[in-house]
């Protein structure tokens, strides 16, 4: 996992995806992004903020769709940014296009609660 500065979000790659996302104990929010996509670039500070806010509850990271073509294909990414929520290695929800901070917060809250409920069950 690479985390370059405080304002940058963790990057998942094809090399660490199984470990960090599929086998993660926490639910994971992944943003597929591209360097050519202004909305993706603009999501960075929001993602970094939410990553800090949800530390220990939901793991948050990004995958560059161009640099990781196998993941891009595996998850049939047709537009970026695409946000995919994973729990126990399975895709739970996905959203395409930039989201406001509040929208993402609602999604994160829901996925966290679903995951907690599943654990209890």
């Amino acid at each position: 996992m690479i985390k370059m500065t405080q304002e940058m979000v963790m990057e998942f790659t094809e090399k660490n995806f199984e470990k960090e996302v599929i086998n993660s104990e926490l639910p994971v929010m992944v943003e597929f992004w591209g360097s050519w996509c202004p909305p993706c670039k603009m999501m960075d500070p929001v993602m970094a903020k939410l990553e800090e806010e949800y530390a220990g509850m939901v793991k948050i990271g990004k995958i560059n769709a161009d640099r990781n073509p196998r993941l891009r294909n595996r998850y049939n990414i047709r537009g970026v940014p695409t946000f995919i929520m994973f729990a126990n290695g399975k895709e739970m929800e996905r959203y395409v296009a930039a989201k406001s901070e509040d929208e993402l917060r609602k999604i994160l809250k829901r996925i966290y609660q679903i995951n907690r409920q599943t654990e209890k069950d």
Partner: protein
Amino acid sequence: MISKTPKPWNAEKTCWNCPAAKFKGNVDFRACGQSKEKIKELQESKEVVIECHRRKELGHFEPNITFEQCPEWKLNKNYNIYMLRNMRIMILGIDGYLGWTLALKLGKLGCKVSGIDNFFRRDCVMEKGSHTLVPIERMTERLSAAKDVLGVEIDFRKIDIMDMDRLKGFMEEVKPESIVHYAECPSAPYSMVDAKHAIKVQKNNVLGTLGLLFLIKEIVPESCLIKLGTMGEYGAPLTGRPLFEGIFPADAVMKWNGREWSMGGELTPRDPVSFYHVSKVQDTFNIYEACKYWWLRSYDIMQGVIYGVHTEETAKDDRLRTRFDVDEWFGTVINRFVAQAVAGIPLTIYGSGEQIRGFIALEDAMECMVRLIFSPPEPGQYDVVNQVSGLHKISELAETVAKVGKEFGLDVKIQRLENPRVEAEEHPMEVVSKKLPNTFGFECKVTPEKEIRRMFKVLTKPNIVKRTGEKKHVIYPMTRWSGEKEKMGVLEVYEPGTKLMGGYVGKLRI
């Protein structure tokens, strides 16, 4: 206390940012994104690999080498930035105020500088009946002085940006790794003279840039286009909405009818204030689209009003000086004020003088350019920077010029004229300029006072005082946005320091 030098700003950039990395033919960029086409099925074993134009011996490799690791990128300790060895940089509009200054700076930094110009600016200033107050040599003498004084060799061709065939030939010969585009007519009043002038500006600026984009796509798709835009593209919204750096941040939200959407990544509204500014907005859209369609990369610079005369290189020898125009078409406001102070005529403020604008000194602007050139964007990345070091009210700048002028024994007066332009004279102004300081390591070094002092030092030299006196009549505004040919009336003449300052205050968010 031991101060530690921070890590170079571009140390962790990789082949993805490097113009020497050959992506074309190696990476299938359009396999996802907004394309409606069916995604190509990739073989499970296929890795992203590229080639390097500079290090062919590497063959195909994963593009993960950082600038810090790559032997082609060398650390420059003065700038604390990695610079691509002998980087090939082409400056379009190399004979101009900015083009010539940047060429000398880059040459001194060890870059291989090439450039074109068709002397459009020299012709337009002559058309106005003016001349550059600081005399400049013919291009052949300038090139020879650059070599003699600085040891800088510049590969120059007289080419019009509209002459795509010749420009193509030159680009194929040089294969520039970065292209700085200054080859546009930079004058709002010039574009408002009449239909002929407006068409000339828009044709040169919009179509010239559009042709250039096609040439970059064909010849050097991995190079970065660094394009000069202007803060005037945004206008001055009366709502006080901040002028973001071209693109809305993700936490900007549009609310309507009980629903909301993130505006993150969308271009912010533009409200250009002349046909010249419209041409710059059109460029913005053309470049944005070209990056999207063809995977080009570009920094679009929304530059504040430029002023000043000094850089280390141009000050080395009179033959290396850059041009300094003060006529109503091409003179920027602070430069005009200083010339008026030297010529003994009142400084001309348009309307109330309460207009707030972003400004940057020549030396600081050049420093920004260097930092942008050596931190190229990634493939397909279109980005905007607001290149501004301070926000100032026009009437306050007149006061500053008058105050510094006093140090040079000049008795300066200020006059308010009818405003030839159609613009808000009193308005809020909040500008976001975070990228240059936070992403590229730029620190503003030059205040208006400092540069105005330097300007007076140069402009009060006897030969320049004479040249200023000869052309003082061309500073007065004659070009009305309404198209009427009538001299602007004087509203008021006053002594500096006698006006009560109030109203809006500019806010710069860095």
